[in-house]
Symmetry: C2
Subunit: 305 residues, 2 copies
């Protein structure tokens, strides 16, 4: 199976601490590298993890609160200085490009690479990009300012035919393609062979959903339904639910409720308030609702399967 | 003597490394705290050094290359979040305030404290501020974009009278003030007592000069003449002098030449290119011209005397 791996660069929230950096994650799939959010200091965290920033193909920025993008201009500046020439694709709130351009102008910097900026749209689930293997989608979440969640999904792969069946029935090319796309087969004697009997079992497409920062919001459930891994913010515990509501954030229990209702494979909690030195109570709170919950920890790598 | 201390937060140049952060320094004098430049990550470096960002009174930004200010918006954002209410005085290139305002607007942030911004002027030595103890000046240096150096000087203090003289001659109040300001004294018999015989010896005012980034530029010498400590950039060694010229930076030898011609007390070299893992050769090169040279090292504290 092609490795599909998430690296947590920062799991903290608005105020960075020496223990937890603010939001930044790296998603890697078969040579494709995606940076999701880019808090201050992200370029050094990549360096610490021995990940070359040159390898980043896509950057997705969820919203324009500083703890999600203040490291972006520094990263772009460094890529320019170390000689990147390959285009860099950037998705983010429309205003982001104006901020970057103002800072580039102020330093009289003409980037040596093309910055392909795509503003995010404010309504519904949007397919923002696809490449050979992956589909990228965005969807609005509910926060103080316009904010988006992201879904990165493997494309549905063609099935593989069972060689025993191929040897026995010698299907034609067009028949084989139809079977690989899910069709059944009727042989010369009129016997129907159901698709699942003549193809090899295969894993279903994997997907990663990223939801931060957001108030509790059930309207995202259809978008992230059945995701292999859901990262959902859990800034507070349930005893601070009114503070969560006031600041358009979620509690650990709310994150777990979304995970349960969306029937995801695994829940990863993050964006923890700097008030929590020990995160175990947040994890325990989530596990009461959704057992397969984990804490995002800076530097941690998680296989998506 | 009142402590006058410099802390090097970052001594590196454009590309931050795991060994050296980009430009940022903290100057402390008798309860007054001045941040000079503010590269990405400065707020965490302060935290590491157990220096509360709340204590910062003044921030001086030399120019708008990212390695000198990309950490400023993050620091300001954190000060807002942790509840600063005291005004913060900021000196920098005129365009800086527009960049900050655009980012504050994008995050819908209304700062809880007043940001008193003073744009720097492009000509000559300018006295930009003074408080009870210190005089702040700026002066343009020569770089790819408008860039300023800074001079922070102790005010000239009144002298102290020699108690033996006071007992013997009982000068009046206005006479004492005149002597403390440097006047001689003529006693009842018409005998002249020179000022230096009737006052206690005192230290001359101390000063700190900050010059980065800059090409070799002798026009700054009158401004920094006799400074107690000069921080001067030394991005390259002399064998890369043509690269220094091309990029409007200085070599270690050039920094030492400025130090020698300006007759400063001590030279602190910094803003080292990330190509230098071992900095000893840069120090040796400077010492050949100006013996009292030192390397700026991240985390180091230097008493100015």
């Amino acid at each position: 199976m092609i490795p599909f791996e998430l690296t947590i660069l920062g799991s903290g929230s608005a105020i960075p601490t020496l223990q937890r950096n603010a939001s930044s994650q790296l998603l890697q799939y078969n040579g494709t590298t995606i940076l999701i959010d880019c808090a201050e200091g992200t370029q050094l965290l990549l360096k610490k993890d021995k990940i070359s920033a040159m390898r980043i193909d896509y950057i997705l920025i969820s919203h324009l609160h500083g703890d999600h993008y203040f490291g972006l201009i520094g990263l772009i500046n460094t890529l320019h200085l170390i000689g990147r020439t390959l285009p860099l694709t950037l998705f983010g709130p429309p205003q982001l490009i104006n901020i970057l351009q103002m800072m580039l102008d102020a330093s009289d910097t003409k980037l040596r690479f093309e910055l392909l900026f795509h503003p995010l749209a404010e309504s519904g689930l949007q397919r923002i990009h696809e490449d050979k293997h992956l589909i990228f989608s965005s969807f609005p979440v509910v926060h103080r300012i316009p904010t988006w969640g992201f879904l990165i999904s493997e494309k549905k792969l063609y099935k593989k035919l069972d060689p025993t069946f191929v040897d026995a029935f010698k299907p034609g090319v067009s028949q084989m393609l139809a079977i690989r796309q899910g069709a059944d087969f009727i042989d010369e004697k009129g016997v129907l062979h159901p698709n699942n009997k003549i193809t090899l079992p295969m894993a279903s497409p994997r997907s990663y959903a990223y939801c931060t920062d957001t108030a509790y919001n059930e309207s995202i459930i259809p978008y992230i339904k059945g995701a292999s891994l859901l990262y959902h913010e859990a800034t507070f515990m349930e005893n601070l639910v009114s503070k969560a509501e006031l600041t358009f954030h979620s509690t650990s229990r709310q994150a777990a409720t979304i995970a349960k209702k969306a029937e995801v494979g695994k829940l990863l909690l993050g964006h923890f308030s700097s008030r929590y030195a020990d995160l175990t109570p947040l994890l325990n709170e989530a596990k009461l609702v959704f057992e397969n919950s984990e804490l995002a920890m800076d530097g941690e790598k998680i296989l998506i399967d």
